[in-house]
């Protein structure tokens, strides 16, 4: 990801470090890396090509800032370029009075029905009264799905018997009903269709003509590959889209489709779907998306994720404890569990810029395993021991070790690490922000971030180390032979 593009750029630019200017000659290899990164992120081929061409023109002749390496600066230029390309009005212009009709369209399985529910919930929270219209008469049980979702969000769903109606009629009647019932927003959930299916596209156009929705939103799966261009183009030509909603962004897709769709249709992305639950619809942020496409760390998302998972009061309480030096092994375990909730350590670390490389260096080392062992050790302690680790003597240590299936030395190491960590945290929490940053830096220089510093050794069952029985036998044989020889020699003398 991030490593991919920066590593490639670093290599491409190693020759020209310090030359001070970005020129056509030295940018070419770098741009090739950018292009590959974009293509691997599923940005459409032509879009990637155009983008790289424009950026190259822009970047040539720019002075390399003293504080930056040329590769860093180029990433910056590319990043900004992506942001500019995706920027736009990311809000929904709703009518002050009267009924705003929104039509949702997209391919099958892009998430239209779920997105309808999410959008209805969001608009409801903003004080509107939305109504859902089930115009998907094709997929079995699509109407039921919308009904259930409507119930969950608490807004009315208009539907008709699919056997006796057609989508145009459902939409017209739905809007009528909304006007009569006092709803301010109508969301039309249309059936999924392929861009090349002319008959169904015509049906969509008929709804567009007869019902005249105020806005037409294209729901696009963020995992779509090169085909995103084709379908976006087809829908835009048929309906003149007003906005895009990108779904399934909670996966690990790089989401190049965002760039493709934006470049082809020219309409802004309004929202992104980031989870299955109905409250997981967020405003679109071009800067975050740009970072994601380039595979750069997504710190903001990490912070948000952390905020969701972590209990704020709990965090404050723990911080307080740290400051007072009362942080116990119990708290430590609690914190570890919270970190675990964020997902695998690898994923979390990848979200932090610059840490991606560390993850690679770790190789097969698995931080989760370490964490599990540590948790196991703490679990084997009594409550009293967790609060007063200094009470753990030799006997207790051996008991804990056998309880958690580790060597006594590991228990010792944990206690030692915990002790020094506690001191460090206490010191740090009394520092100013600037000093704190410095301390973190020192830590990372001093081996905290050194991936080789704490590599798990192979588990040794016996205290004498791994025994190779054949080797041992040969060794013993040789010893006996030597002894015999020596005896003989001594006798002769």
């Amino acid at each position: 990801m991030f490593e991919g593009i920066t590593e490639g750029l670093t290599n491409a630019f190693s020759a020209f470090r310090g030359s001070g200017k970005i020129t056509e000659g030295n940018i070419r290899d770098g741009m090739k890396q950018v292009r590959t990164a974009l293509l691997e992120a599923d940005v459409a081929f032509d879009v990637a090509q155009d983008f790289v061409r424009n950026i190259t023109e822009q970047a040539i002749g720019e002075d390399v800032l003293k504080s930056l390496r040329p590769d860093q600066q180029l990433v910056g230029i590319v990043h900004q370029g992506l942001i500019d390309l995706m920027a736009g009005d990311h809000t929904l212009p709703l009518k002050r009075d009267g009924v705003t009709v929104l039509m949702m369209c997209g391919l099958q399985g892009s998430g239209k029905t779920t997105t309808c529910g999410k959008l209805a919930r969001l608009l409801k929270e903003e004080g509107h009264t939305p109504m859902l219209v089930a115009a998907d008469l094709q997929r079995p049980a699509a109407i039921e799905q919308l009904k259930i979702i409507g119930e969950q969000v608490g807004c009315p769903v208009y539907h008709e018997d699919p056997a006796k109606s057609d989508p145009v009629q459902v939409c017209r009647n739905g809007v009528k009903q909304a006007k009569a019932g006092g709803s301010t927003i109508v969301l039309l959930d249309t059936a999924g269709r392929l861009g090349i299916d002319e008959e169904l596209m015509k049906e969509l156009q008929r709804i567009d003509n007869r019902v005249a929705p105020d806005m037409c939103l294209f729901v696009c799966d963020a995992m779509t590959g090169q085909d995103a261009v084709n379908s976006a183009k087809a829908f835009n030509e048929a309906l003149e889209l007003d906005g895009v909603i990108l779904t399934k962004l909670d996966g690990d897709t790089r989401g190049g489709a965002a760039l493709s769709v934006r470049a082809v249709t020219g309409v802004p992305i309004k929202y992104v779907g980031v989870g299955e639950q109905l409250d997981r619809l967020e405003q679109f942020h071009p800067d975050r998306m740009a970072g994601r496409i380039l595979g750069m760390g997504d710190v903001l998302s990490l912070v948000e994720k952390a905020q969701q998972e972590f209990d704020e009061d709990e965090m404050l309480a723990q911080q307080e404890k740290m400051q007072q030096g009362k942080f116990t092994l119990d708290d430590f375990r609690k914190q570890m569990r919270q970190i675990k909730k964020l997902g695998s350590m690898r994923e979390v670390m990848k979200m932090i810029p610059g840490m991606g490389k560390v993850v690679d260096q770790m190789g097969d080392m698995n931080p989760e395993d370490d964490m599990r062992r540590i948790e196991g050790i703490i679990n084997s302690m009594t409550l009293d021991e967790r609060h007063n680790p200094e009470r753990i003597d030799r006997g207790r240590r051996n008991r804990i070790a056998s309880g958690s299936g580790v060597e006594p030395a590991e228990v010792n190491k944990l206690l030692k690490d915990f002790n020094s960590m506690g001191k460090m945290m206490q010191d740090m929490s009394n520092m100013s922000l600037k000093d704190r940053m410095k301390a973190v830096k020192q830590m990372s220089d001093g081996g905290m971030m050194d991936p080789n510093a704490n590599i798990q050794e192979k588990k040794i069952r016996s205290k004498r180390g791994p025994i190779d029985s054949i080797q041992l036998r040969d060794k013993k044989k040789k010893q006996r032979k030597d002894a015999r020889k020596a005896k003989k020699r001594n006798r002769r003398k």
């Binding site: 590959t36 599923d42 079995p140 799966d221 995992m223 779509t224 590959g225 085909d227």
Partner: protein, 313 residues
């Protein structure tokens, strides 16, 4: 319509794009230079096969034909054989065009369990209906297990299909533990001595660890009833999916050891080229392709046919 025609119809768009471009690109007498090759690489990348695979094909073209005048047929042969190499590897999956069930693993005795998984909205439930239909028309008895208890109305959707097909279904209320549905499905399949049990699962993104664990649990629980199950665990992939398909294949394989792919929605403009990358990296073969919305729009995948249909004249 024969199989080949169906495949061709499904891939019509793909073929149109590739063929017309390629006819424009490589004309006999031109010199195959870097510019031409770069254009060609672009066409390949547009099929979603990924930069690596496209690179491999173009570099082989460069090696064999670079700098010379274009011999259209020879160039074609190179592209075609390289693609076939990428799609076929040395494992034993058989695609017998006369027997549509040939790529599926079969249990030695008792019900064969097919576990179907995939991310949200790829067409799992529809694919299950199609597979069930295929099995049924070949004279097998089937039990469906409606394991998608999460998405609103997913159980209803599968129930509707089971009614249309006339096969047994095990279902529970939405929100129930999917593993328990799978367990009961397995028990029922054994009880009825059905030939096949198809287990539906809720769509899940591969990054959601708890949901992937749940999938693993489903597998474990089925094994309590039928120890060597699932005999077949199919990952359904949307043909429009880009490079993320690789990540999907990796994560789902880690959880349920995928034995094959079902490439759905191949009737659009999408080309499903990411399967080339998946085959290359993970060795998971495509077993079936979905080429339409009808219940019998499921075709046996066949590498030669796929490549030939891509380039048929």
């Amino acid at each position: 319509m024969g199989l080949f025609d169906r495949l061709k119809a499904g891939l019509q768009k793909t073929r149109d794009i590739l063929r017309t471009d390629v006819r424009d690109l490589f004309r006999a007498g031109d010199i195959l230079d870097d510019g031409l090759l770069e254009d060609f690489e672009g066409r390949l990348i547009r099929t979603d096969m990924g930069v690596a695979a496209a690179d491999r094909i173009t570099s082989r073209l460069r090696e064999e034909h670079g700098g010379r005048t274009v011999d259209v047929d020879a160039v074609w042969e190179t592209v075609r054989s390289e693609l076939r190499d990428l799609l076929k590897s040395d494992d034993a999956t058989a695609w017998d065009p006369d027997n549509p069930l040939s790529p599926l693993n079969k249990a030695d005795s008792g019900p064969t369990v097919i576990l179907v998984a995939g991310v949200n909205g790829v067409g799992k439930t529809t694919s299950i209906a199609k597979i069930a239909n295929l099995l049924q028309t070949n004279g097998n008895s089937i039990v469906l297990a409606a394991g998608d208890t999460f998405r609103a109305a997913a159980v209803e959707q599968l129930t509707m299909w089971s009614e249309r097909l006339g096969c047994d279904i095990v279902r529970k209320d939405s929100g129930a533990d999917p593993a328990s549905v799978a367990y009961e499905g397995a028990a029922k399949a054994v009880e009825l001595n059905a030939d096949y049990l198809i287990v539906d699962t809720a769509g899940r993104l591969q990054t959601q660890k708890n949901l992937m664990d749940e999938l693993e649990k489903i597998r474990r629980v089925i094994q309590k009833v039928i120890p060597e199950a699932p005999h077949e665990s199919l990952l359904v992939l949307d043909a429009t999916t880009g490079q993320n398909g690789l990540s999907q294949a990796k994560s789902f394989s880690a959880a349920v050891e995928c034995t094959g792919l079902v490439l759905a929605k191949l009737d659009g403009t999408a080309r499903g080229g990411v399967t080339v990358a998946i085959r290359q990296e993970m060795g998971i073969p495509v077993k079936y392709i979905g080429v339409g919305e009808g219940v019998d729009d499921l075709e046996l995948f066949d590498a030669d046919g796929f490549v030939d249909a891509l380039f048929a004249k």
